[in-house]
């Protein structure tokens, strides 16, 4: 078993940062294999947030007093950390949201409502998460635009030959795709799609919720127009997320939510908007959560995204090898070198809910369901899958426990 990069990561030392790994479930330590859903939090992030609440908390932006200045500095400092993390040109282009989902809704509403109409085509893919699917479906319906999808092949890869046919249907205005599929782990060719989108005068929207925690992100290299991701999937607190968008586009857009902070002036007759990024941050933001998000990005960056990616790759290779040896287990999606640390599979004649339930008795936490990708489930011909997903703190031993658990599943069901 190759452990070189796992060692490079010093996984055992890192695991000591996560108190949850001392937790026993059914008398066994938790093998947490659901990081694609949400990650656990290191004490560095929790400590920093506590410290912030105790020494630097106030509402941001408007207070002239010291606590408000500190809070604002912490909050705006986090914005700069997000900017650096994705190599955005300016931190005015970084908007804090609750989550990737809210970021994608913001684009769909603020850009979509004004820019889409009959004859236009909104393009998503068959492996989108509902967060980058349903908002576009709604806005397309509302504006009369067509809603088209790029199909995938049996290995879970986008079929780019379908693009010509899609372009023939009308004016392509939006192409929206996740950089990494949360169900299959597929790494999608968003750079290519961005080029194609721009050739057709469309904007390219990248859902990086499942990519940003695991790989270097460079919005300029990707060539996209918008990119969204969530704090809680990258060791940060829940309740925070980020949207990056090109300044020219953000400048021309109407706001999404309305209220305090996002205005320049308000009167009964006429209301105008604050400058970027505040125009898109109505009301009191998730102050301490944005701050914690920034600390989490520091934590992950210090470990190194290359090391994390290499570690996850080893884990996914190991997992796929081990799972392939269990009769009746079928793995969905591309080979290991075309995916991140995510494996979806089925166990013949056992429903994923039952698989996950039995694994839980063994202290192994995996996800069972459609993973918010029902159109993909339809394509795969299943209602649900079982999914194991890894992060910087995951170990080979946890995967071995998953495998042992699956044997127990088969035994229970006589399958």
């Amino acid at each position: 078993m190759a452990v070189s990069s796992a060692k490079a990561l010093e996984v055992e030392r890192l695991r000591a940062d996560f108190a949850v790994f001392d937790e026993l479930v059914n008398g066994k330590p938790v093998a947490y294999l659901d990081s694609a859903s949400s990650t656990q939090k290191p004490r560095q992030v929790l400590d920093a947030m506590r410290e912030f609440y105790e020494h630097s908390y106030a509402n941001v932006h408007r207070g002239v007093y010291t606590l408000a200045e500190r809070a604002t500095e912490g909050y705006e400092g986090a914005r700069e950390k997000v900017r650096a993390y994705i190599n955005a040109p300016s931190n005015r282009e970084v908007i804090f949201t609750r989550s990737a989902t809210e970021a994608l809704n913001l684009i769909a509403y603020s850009w979509g409502l004004e820019n889409l109409g009959a004859g236009d085509v909104v393009v998503i893919t068959e492996l989108e998460h509902h967060a980058n699917f349903v908002p576009w479906q709604f806005i397309a319906k509302k504006t009369g635009a067509q809603f088209a999808h790029i199909p995938i092949d049996d290995a879970g890869e986008l079929q780019l030959d379908a693009l010509d046919e899609i372009a023939a249907r009308g004016n392509v205005k939006v192409v929206a795709n996740n950089l990494v599929s949360n169900t299959l782990g597929t790494i999608n060719p968003v750079e290519k799609l961005a080029v194609w989108a721009h050739e057709h005068g469309a904007i390219m929207v990248v859902d990086a919720a499942q990519a940003a925690p695991h790989r270097h992100i460079d919005v300029q290299a990707l060539g996209c127009d918008f990119l969204a991701f969530s704090s809680h999937k990258v060791c940060g607190p829940s309740g925070a997320g980020a949207l990056w968008g090109r300044r020219e586009l953000l400048d021309a857009m109407q706001p999404f939510n309305f209220g305090g902070e996002m205005i320049r002036s308000v009167s009964l007759e006429r209301t105008s908007w604050n400058e970027l990024p505040y125009k898109f941050e109505a009301g009191t933001p998730a102050i301490a959560e944005a701050y914690g998000f920034g600390v989490a990005l520091d934590y992950v960056s210090e470990i190194g995204l290359d090391a994390i990616e290499a570690h996850e790759h080893e884990l996914v290779v190991h997992a796929m090898e081990q799972l392939a040896e269990i009769p009746g287990v079928r793995i969905f999606g591309p080979p290991a070198d075309r995916r991140t640390g995510i494996v979806s599979f089925e166990v013949a004649n056992v429903h994923p809910h039952d698989v996950a339930q039995i694994l839980n008795w063994e202290g192994v936490a995996v996800r069972a369901g459609h993973h918010c990708t029902q159109p993909l489930m339809t394509r795969l011909g299943v209602a649900a899958t079982t999914r194991a997903s890894f992060y910087l703190y995951s170990t080979h031993e946890e995967i071995d426990r998953l495998v042992a658990g699956l044997l127990k599943v088969k035994e229970t069901f006589g399958a």
Partner: protein, 144 residues
């Protein structure tokens, strides 16, 4: 008996592997379809009434789901046959859960009562029986 063994006790696995009432009824006097949004599982229920137009003569189901949901729906068909629509409309979920007889976490509870909810919606639509708020979510039909 461990909790695991309890949950997957013999009778559950038996109903799962040999579901009673499995299959569509055609024609049917009442029918409805529902999903468990958590896992995408679906169940469709079919009901045939007796001559009085009230008593459930036959009930069938189709769909896919976990052992708990399939076994529960299978047990449900046995539980309601011979009862009237309004009896079933007011049947508390506890009666079915007692039948199932295993401890369920909130999330698995939703699996267990999906079939019952869909049946209540079917009766509500066909016979106008009351549908308490608890079950109304299954009958909502706002969509894109």
């Amino acid at each position: 008996m461990s909790e695991l063994e309890q949950m997957y006790r013999e009778v559950i696995l038996d109903h799962y592997k040999n579901p009673r009432g499995h299959g569509a009824l055609d024609p049917a006097d009442a029918t409805a379809e529902g999903q468990n949004p958590l896992c995408g599982d679906e169940v469709t229920i079919f009901v045939r009434f007796g001559e009085d137009g009230e008593t459930i003569d036959d009930v069938g189901f189709e769909g896919r789901g976990c052992a708990i949901s399939q076994a529960a729906t299978s047990m449900l068909t046995e539980l309601v046959k011979g009862r009237t629509a309004s009896e079933v409309a007011s049947l508390p979920k506890e009666d079915l859960l007692e039948e199932i007889g295993i401890p369920l976490t909130p999330i698995r509870l939703k699996c267990a009562i999906l079939g019952l909810g869909v049946l209540k919606v079917a009766l509500h639509r066909a016979k106008g029986t009351p549908l308490p708020p608890e079950w109304q979510g299954l009958a909502d039909d706002l969509t894109i």
